[in-house]
């Protein structure tokens, strides 16, 4: 691989340094036009090996069509007509496909791709093209693209690319790109430079977190004792730094898992914690929230970002209404009979699952993630936080704060607390306890719906979505202390972190089991959870 990639880069380099219009004209005159033509034609063939050779030939001769063609190939937008094998670049314009010719030909616009075939490429070709493009993109106006180019070159450090970088670094003004370029130069120097150069290279590399830097250091065979020690301490320095960031990453993972747990448990904390209803259909209420997100996205297909924002209130309302229906239809008749409630709501959960299965089919539906929620926030080369997880942590906290506000500041919250503390007394004070029951259950269900919106962005939207989370939700509520919202939040977050701390050495399966065992033992010691409810209400 290096052998194939290395040669054209060096030749390309020559072209780039010395290319003047005159020389370009000269080059194209002397170059074998036949071989270039052949190369283009090979791209329509089947053999990936031959295609790789052809791409190198094209890159080497570098006709003006080479760059757009390679970019299009990477995007899988390079097509050729089945008749005549003429190359076209595909552009999708709404309902139509627009085929712009690469060479002289007419633009074709049609509704489908009939008559055209894609130039197929595989991973090997993709990375070859990226390497070739990286050389060109070192001169790009956008600093981000330059940075990506340097990082691409860092994956396979070559003496030739280093020479190119040496000239580019003088004109560079973005400090991130400069650092990356310095790392690349240091990697090359460590392998090829004299002892003084190696010494300064080790020094530069010890500040880098790049994995190529680390690898070249570990494989480095020092000529002197002093250099060896230097290299070892550099490795230690890098490893220490990496470990630190790894710990930070684990905590973030824990918080993000915790926020999902807390989010799915907060609704339950209300229905189970405050009202004392064991609602086995809680997971299905989340599922309904997730499906609501899916439906909203079908209704607003062109603006995914907006559809997610619209889905939040919509899921709350839909799940809330279903919750109220369950309360009025089933649970109302079973207050004070926990076992029957459990069985009845389990039945309801099965009914809801099968309903969804009949309406939406048993196949999973997928909710598209908006652009601003995909990808990661790259803090440095080893630490990156994924955006969707960050947003879900924030969303969880927002829901939690809003819920606390409702419980503490509104009259509904006051009535809910009154009914849950002493139903008879509350009724004597003129609170319509049945109405409050329905609304409380609706509130808890609505929040389950909100959890569903978050889950739809992380996992499958399918009929079984709820089942996966119901046990975890109960676990969190029981662990946090029944009837205590703060307890739920703290319990969710700490279970998330415990789980993620254990996962690396115990494995995902065992970690889950250990967490369960831990909770069972914990409940033995403190039956009322982390934050038990105090006062008379807790006695019954």
């Amino acid at each position: 691989m290096t052998a194939i990639a290395g040669k054209p880069i060096s030749l390309l380099l020559l072209l780039f340094i010395f290319t003047t219009p005159l020389q370009q004209a000269f080059a194209s005159e002397t170059s074998d036009d036949n071989s270039l033509e052949n190369a283009w034609e090979t791209l329509t063939g089947k053999s990936y090996k031959k295609k790789a050779e052809a791409i190198e030939v094209i890159a080497l001769q570098n006709p003006p069509e080479a760059l757009p063609a390679m970019m299009a190939m990477l995007e899988s937008k390079l097509y050729y007509s089945k008749i005549g094998k003429v190359f076209y670049l595909l552009k999708e314009t709404g309902d139509n496909y627009e085929f712009t010719p690469l060479f002289d030909a007419e633009t074709v616009i049609q509704e489908n791709k009939q008559g055209f075939k894609k130039v197929k490429i595989n991973n090997r070709l993709r990375s070859l093209i990226r390497q070739l493009l990286a050389v060109i993109q070192l001169k790009h106006n956008d600093a981000d693209i330059r940075l990506a180019a340097v990082q691409e070159l860092l994956k396979k450090p070559e003496v030739e690319s280093a020479r190119l970088v040496e000239t580019a670094i003088e004109r560079e003004d973005d400090h991130r790109v400069i650092t990356a370029m310095q790392t690349l130069l240091a990697v090359i120097q460590l392998e090829n430079g004299d002892e003084a150069a190696q010494l300064s290279a080790i020094d530069t590399l010890s500040h880098s977190l790049n994995s190529s830097a680390m690898n070249v250091l570990t494989e480095y065979k020092a000529p002197t004792r002093e250099l060896h020690n230097k290299a070892q301490s550099a490795i230690k320095k890098i490893t220490d730094k990496r470990d630190l960031y790894a710990k930070a990453e684990t905590i973030f993972f824990g918080l993000s898992l915790g926020s999902v747990l807390a989010l799915s448990a907060i609704g339950l904390a209300i229905t189970f914690g405050v009202m004392g209803v064991i609602n086995m259909a809680h997971g299905e209420l989340m599922m309904i929230g997730a499906y609501t997100t899916y439906v909203i996205q079908l209704l607003i297909p062109n603006n995914i970002g907006v559809s997610i924002l619209v889905a939040i209130p919509a899921a709350f309302i839909v799940s809330g209404l279903v919750g109220i229906a369950i309360e009025r239809g089933v649970i109302r008749h079973l207050y004070g009979r926990p076992l029957e409630t459990l069985l009845a709501t389990f039945g309801v959960s099965l009914i809801l699952q099968q309903t969804v299965r009949s309406i939406f089919s048993p196949l999973n539906r997928s909710v598209e993630t908006p652009e601003w929620m995909s990808g990661a926030w790259q803090i440095n080369e080893v630490l990156s936080l994924t955006w969707n997880r960050l947003y879900i942590i924030l969303f969880c906290l927002a829901v939690f704060v809003a819920l606390i506000m409702v419980m503490k500041k509104t009259s509904l919250g006051l009535q809910v607390r009154a009914v849950s503390q002493n139903r008879t007394m509350a009724r004597a004070m003129g609170v319509r306890s049945q109405w409050v029951d329905a609304l409380t259950f609706g509130l808890g269900s609505g929040i389950a719906g909100l959890a569903g919106v978050a889950l739809s962005l992380l996992t499958n939207v399918g009929p079984n979505l709820g089942q996966a989370y119901i046990i975890d939700s109960f676990m969190v509520v029981v662990f946090g202390g029944v009837g205590n919202l703060w307890g739920t939040l703290v319990a969710g977050m700490s279970l998330g972190i415990i789980n993620k701390l254990m996962e690396p050495w115990a494995g995902a399966v065992l970690a889950k089991i250990l967490v369960l065992v831990f909770i069972i033992l914990f409940i033995q010691k403190r039956p009322k959870g982390l934050f038990p409810q105090r006062g008379r209400a807790a006695e019954d």
Partner: protein
Amino acid sequence: MIKTKLKKLALATTITTLSLASAGLAWAEDTIKVGVLHSLSGTMAISETTLKDTMLMLIDEQNKKGCVLGKKLEAVVVDPASNWPLFAEKARELISKNKTDVVFGCWTSVSRKSVLPVFEELNSILFYPVQYEGEESSKNVFYTGAAPNQQAVPAVDYLMDEIGVKRWVLAGTDYVYPRTTNKILKAYLISKGVNEKDIMINYTPFGHSDWQSIVSDIKKFGSAGKKTAVVSTINGDANIPFYKELGNQGISAEDIPVIAFSVGAEELSGLDTKPLVGHLAAWNYFMSVESDENEEFIAAWKKYIKNNKRVTNDPMEAHYIGFNMWVKAVEKAGTTDPKVVQKALIGVSVPNLSGGYSAMMPNHHITKPVLIGEIQKDGQFDIVWETSGLVAGDAWSDYLPGSKDLISDWRAPLSCGNYNVKTKKCSGQNY
């Protein structure tokens, strides 16, 4: 007077009903019953419903083409509801009560293991269409899905020889298929000179949705300078969050390719595949295979299901092959009697969808090509590599110490599913 009239009326009604019933019976006798044992509810419904529809389509088409032995085929569909013991009950119901001559069904290995004793006791035929871990050969089961040597081993060969992979992550869901497959792969890799330190094995529970730390571990494992690949036996639902996390953490296929054995276009439908371009899957069939049979099949499927967006997958092809094999064997044998058809099936060869022929081997596995596909931006797979010829399914892996010496041959005189070539003994069934 009125009473007698009433009596007469009642008698007349009874007679009509009876004659109607007997007419119905006569008609019923004229059909060949084909059992379809796929979950239509519960966890596995997501995958198995499609196979039920495939079977109904195949039977429908066969009836249109002409009957089998002059009789129409009639599908008997039952729903085992993703409940493994229920699979056994429903299988018994199909064979004993509904008198089906053949059953097409099951998806998970545990459901197959659950129905196996029933099929052996009643001596019927089951066609099993899904890739599985091997290490089994029953007289009554015909395995039209891939054995590990028809999927996992060639896939690893591809990565090793074509991509130059040196470090391996074997990630799977925690149950029998991934565990056995990974055991075989590990033994195979070590036999090829891979250092044990360069193999990382990871198991996750069913439906695992929080992949953050595992993906991050894979990223770290892959940054050690040697080319790394992930061999994924992650099952069903857990794949979407896994691939989402891969995309979000920016693991591109050029850095660390992931090759999957249970992910098809169907699993990826709806998922944003842009960050996943170049990740791989190994199957014996892809929807993008270019052959006339495949085009016909896809067109028929879309027409039957009345949805232009539905995709086709590997187990569907397995049913296509299995069903045609059975029809051919029945016509060859001239009867639907399972005992005779079992023997007639061996050696039967029918077209597969990738432009060649698949044959039933004496070990009840079939020959298939192995294809490697790369995920494209549109969620389809482009085939980037295929085995030069057909690969015959191997019931007992050559890389596991316990099964190395076992062979399976259901032809007389051996007639044994696990004959030990060293001790020269047939150890009977053990499953």
